[in-house]
Symmetry: C2
Subunit: 317 residues, 2 copies
């Protein structure tokens, strides 16, 4: 438990893949954490938080919750996240609208610090500099290629100007690539583990793309650290480590003792994907002061253990 | 009456300074024009349009109106416009939210073409190139300095990506400086006319700033032309003519025969204002094919006549 004063924190998306870990971390630090959720979704990680059953799209009820609770901090994670769908989903527009109303309700109720969830998809993935250097919050050009990234970028720019106008404190986390045992079963890490668990061949592309992977628990903890810090503006949330997809697949194979089932090159590489997307993590590590507790291998091992223990492998998302 | 097919057009902000002229123009061209408005505000210019009494913030009712009418065209002009206030008003966030819901409702009901109202305040007013050349839709950097411009820019970017994703046709008008006899009485043109009408001295700054002025009727007609065209993306709406504020003031003095009351330099120039903001109008004149019917002097004269006729000079806005 930290010795910082106890803050009243409102979290949206607090039952999601990242949110549950952020909530667990904030509760563990002794803060008064409230989670806005439509349905009460019981989850071990969010124990200790108070659930507020409100539809985020219900502007009136949202204002009431803020007026009643008067949170000092708002961690806004809720957004459209359905696997594959989110890139172009019309719901991105709804989430912009919801975020606008949330920000106003938070400010009107005396809120102090707002942290929102952005994405590495805000950066210009075609920028030549990214072939050799990491995505930097200040220097890498912003040019999102999908509706999702555009919507996130538009939200950030507006909240930044709103914060400047109103005196709100505002930070924006740009999340890179995450993995978790509970992620959608078609996602890279989980699908490989699931295949190997079933002693099936995991057919992959050659996997030469370089990405920045971070476990959802570390992403959640990084969000919690950012929320409790005084850092403003955009902050990358990633490991800062460049790994090829092949490397990740091979590591899973090794850890599970089933390397022979990793089928690199079985399927062609998807065209149009950026070669290299890695976070410059200096802001996160130096300014926010966040560093993960566990190594990448330990985190992968954790996912493998949890998925091996399951009787059935049904995705929650 | 034109020979183009009759379109079903929904207009928001159709009773506003620009909207009433756009509506008049669209009605005159024989289209089926519907104006969404909270209160029925009678106005000679909007005769011939059908009024839909709905609160734009009422998402549910908005969806119903679109489903019932199934408009092919949406001209979305409504936004926060209170003089002086709009630059930093929190309502800018609400208008983003409303616009997101409008776009989705329009698309869901089979809408084809959406035109939104942007602003010259989306451009980077500190760009050195603007000292000698006009704001160009493709080349002038975008870097809005106020919440208003940021909100408009965020809206445009999102709608552009949304249009690309859904197949909607989308254009965005960047409005420069307008004048009208009905504009807020503290605005430049009207305040000078009002002073001279009352035989009072119109105290101005030296007026060296260069601006692009267009009468609201021409702005409205340009919007109508853009809506009925097939031009996509950002289009400046302005005259393309560079005029100093001093020149505008002097012209009003001449037209009213009271030049001696123009007090240029009576008050100091406001600091931080850009020196020169003029529209590159090639897209509007060549691609959209719009050119105003009346000269700047004729339009100023029209305002003067209308304001001289009035018994009292009360602003409508």
């Amino acid at each position: 438990m930290s010795h910082t004063p106890r803050s009243k924190i409102l979290v949206t998306g607090g039952t999601g893949l990242i949110g549950r870990y952020a909530v667990a971390d904030l509760v563990a630090r002794g803060h008064d954490v409230h989670v806005i959720t439509r349905k009460r979704q019981p989850c071990g990680l969010t124990r200790g938080a108070t659930f507020q059953q409100v539809d985020l799209a219900d502007e009136h009820s949202i204002r009431e919750v803020f007026e009643r609770l008067r949170p000092t901090h708002l961690l806004h994670l809720a957004w459209e996240t359905r696997h594959g769908v989110f890139w172009s989903a019309e719901e991105n527009l709804n989430w912009i609208a919801i975020t606008m109303h949330l920000a106003r309700a938070f400010h009107a109720a005396g809120g102090r610090r707002l942290v929102g969830a952005g994405t590495c998809a805000e950066y210009d993935w075609n920028d030549q500099g990214l072939m050799s250097s990491n995505c930097n919050e200040a220097d890498t050009p912003i040019a999102p290629g999908h509706l999702y990234g555009v919507a996130k970028d538009a939200t950030r720019k507006t909240l930044e100007a709103y914060a400047k106008t109103t005196g709100l404190e505002f930070a924006w986390a740009r999340v890179f690539f995450l993995f978790d045992h509970d992620e959608n079963e078609r996602r890279f890490v989980r699908s490989i583990i699931s295949n190997l668990r079933a002693r099936k061949r995991a057919s992959c592309s050659p996997g030469t793309q370089i990405r920045d992977f971070m476990h959802a628990a570390d992403v959640g903890a990084a969000f919690a650290a950012l929320l409790l810090s005084e850092t403003k503006g955009a902050v990358n949330i990633g490991s800062g480590v460049a790994r090829t997809l092949a490397e990740v697949a091979i590591t899973i194979g090794e850890l599970m003792g089933r390397s022979e089932l990793i089928g690199l090159g079985d399927i062609p590489a998807r065209s149009g994907e950026p070669h290299r997307l890695v976070a410059d993590t200096r802001r996160l590590t130096v300014e926010v002061g966040y560093n993960p507790d566990m190594s990448f291998r330990e985190r992968l091992n954790g996912c493998i253990s949890l998925l091996m223990e399951r009787n059935t492998d049904l995705s929650l998302s």
